[in-house]
């Protein structure tokens, strides 16, 4: 089936997803569960990645600009800018597409092949809304927090690696991360994060929702969810950067 068919069906699914919930209290309860499932349980991997990526960014920056003409604080400045502008919003979202996206596609895909979505439809429940909307809302709410935590941890990781290895002094690094700080860059990062959160949840849910077959097809949907989410994130990253930064 052509790409236009999938795009059309994706937007029709979004229409169903964002239609009026039958029982708000049930949706709210599910949203809280999803915040835990999709957000809180991703904290460990986000923290680990952030600390090490910050450390690597700092060391690589230092080794590439090791010139007497460039001041020492530039290492901290570059680490902060890389982290806020690109690493935390985009790379963490790509990682979440792998972790959360595959989880969403597998969960919804399994429900489809086990007739549980048919059961919801026959009861008169809007299955798309009930299954997908709480995930979208939860991700939109929790992912910005994950990204902010990631920013702090990544900058901390850079400091620890820089000071620990002696390539940059603590004072220079701190001076660098405070230098020419533009709060709009954080806003830009959070806008990207929210857009990517919607992409991860809806693209993955789409793959799961229209799974046909058995467990093998659930696996295929799960893989497609990650690949397509990543592709859409990369394209939108470029578009948003051009739109918001230039």
């Amino acid at each position: 089936m052509g790409i236009l068919f999938h795009i059309g069906r994706y937007f029709l699914l979004l229409g169903e997803t964002f239609s009026k919930p039958e029982r708000l209290s049930l949706y709210w309860q599910r949203t809280i569960e999803e915040v835990d499932q999709l957000g809180v349980r991703s904290l460990g991997i986000v923290a680990l990645l952030s600390v090490f990526m910050g450390a690597v960014i700092t060391i690589q920056t230092k080794t590439n600009i090791d010139s007497p003409l460039i001041q020492a604080w530039v290492v901290g400045f570059a680490a902060r800018q890389s982290t806020i502008l690109e690493f935390s919003p985009t790379i963490i979202s790509l990682i979440l597409a792998g972790k959360v996206g595959s989880n969403i596609a597998a969960e919804i895909g399994s429900m489809r092949v086990k007739e549980q979505i048919d059961a919801l439809d026959i009861m008169g429940v809007n299955s798309a809304g009930y299954l997908i909307l709480p995930k979208v809302v939860a991700s939109v709410v929790i992912n910005p927090f994950l990204v902010i935590i990631s920013m702090f941890l990544s900058i901390f990781g850079g400091w620890a690696a820089g000071v620990g290895t002696g390539i940059v002094s603590g004072a220079d690094y701190i001076q660098g991360i405070q230098m020419s700080f533009d709060p709009y860059h954080v806003t830009y990062a959070l806008i990207k994060t929210v857009v990517f959160a919607v992409v991860i949840t809806t693209v993955s849910a789409y793959q799961g929702y229209y799974t046909q077959g058995g467990t093998r097809e659930v696996g295929i949907s799960s893989t497609k969810a990650v690949v397509y989410s990543d592709v859409v994130i990369l394209i939108l990253n470029y578009m948003l950067t051009q739109l918001l930064l230039i």
Partner: protein, 253 residues
């Protein structure tokens, strides 16, 4: 009463159903029977609204389902209970939560009233002290019974049962068949059972529709079934040695 009028359905180049007309009566166990691939499951999905027929209509007590607006369809669906072949219980919910689910979604009751209603439905299908268990901790027969409890939680007017005996031993199958029959009488539902299990047909079938190659080949009750001269129907019914012996015994009387 459910009426199916001139329903046809095609998937791509394959014509799956052709001009099906049938009436399913209130308070009776109606059955759709046929070989695997005959189109009976597609017909059932057209009736419950999971598929939209290319032609024809399905009337729920005079309401043409596929012509209703979204809200009206939702209301009709709340009058439907369905037991799926796989039971389709929600994995993440325990037995009590599964049965309470439709009540939580649509009923205007307090939490304790919902719990009481769910407990009553579970008791009705002989599931006691299993409220806290998850579907994966239940046997196939128990899953079916919990599925039935969930289907009757909203006191449905229409009850659909897809292959109720699939994967069950003969004794448990009889328990499930009896339960479906009892509930149909108790609630006065229009019950439609989709099956190819002849034992089940002979035990509970009151109005039987035989689907063959996507067409309605025959309709009647179980007494007429054994006397039918229809070749395709006889090939289907008497495929097993046991049923051939039953026929021999009846004719020898």
């Amino acid at each position: 009463m459910i009426e199916v009028q001139g329903v046809s359905k095609r998937f791509g180049a394959t014509q799956v159903l052709t001009d099906i007309n049938a009436v399913f009566h209130k308070g009776k166990v109606n059955m759709i029977i046929g070989k695997s691939g005959s189109g009976k499951s597609v017909l059932a999905k057209c009736i419950v609204g999971l598929h939209v027929p290319d032609e024809g209509r399905v009337l729920y007590d005079g309401r043409s389902f596929h012509e209703l607006d979204k809200e009206q369809k939702r209301q009709v669906r709340q009058e439907i209970g369905m037991l799926f072949q796989s039971s389709a219980l929600f994995d993440s919910l325990n037995v009590m939560e599964n049965v309470m689910f439709p009540l939580k979604m649509f009923a205007t009751m307090s939490e304790s009233e919902m719990r009481d209603r769910a407990a009553l439905c579970l008791k009705r299908v002989n599931i006691v002290d299993k409220d806290h268990l998850f579907p994966s901790e239940l046997s196939g027969g128990m899953q079916k019974r919990v599925g039935i409890a969930r289907a009757i939680a909203m006191t449905p007017k229409y009850l659909f049962v897809d292959e109720p005996n699939s994967g069950l031993d003969p004794q448990t199958s009889i328990v499930i068949d009896d339960l479906i029959k009892e509930l149909t009488e108790e609630y006065g539902t229009t019950t439609i059972v989709i099956t190819h299990d002849m034992n089940s047909v002979m035990e509970t079938g009151e109005n039987i529709v035989f689907i063959h190659q996507g067409r309605k080949w025959w309709q009647g009750d179980k007494d007429q079934l054994l006397d039918s001269e229809n070749k395709e129907l006889n090939d289907f019914i008497f495929a097993s040695g046991l049923m051939r012996q039953v026929r021999k015994a009846i004719k020898g009387r």
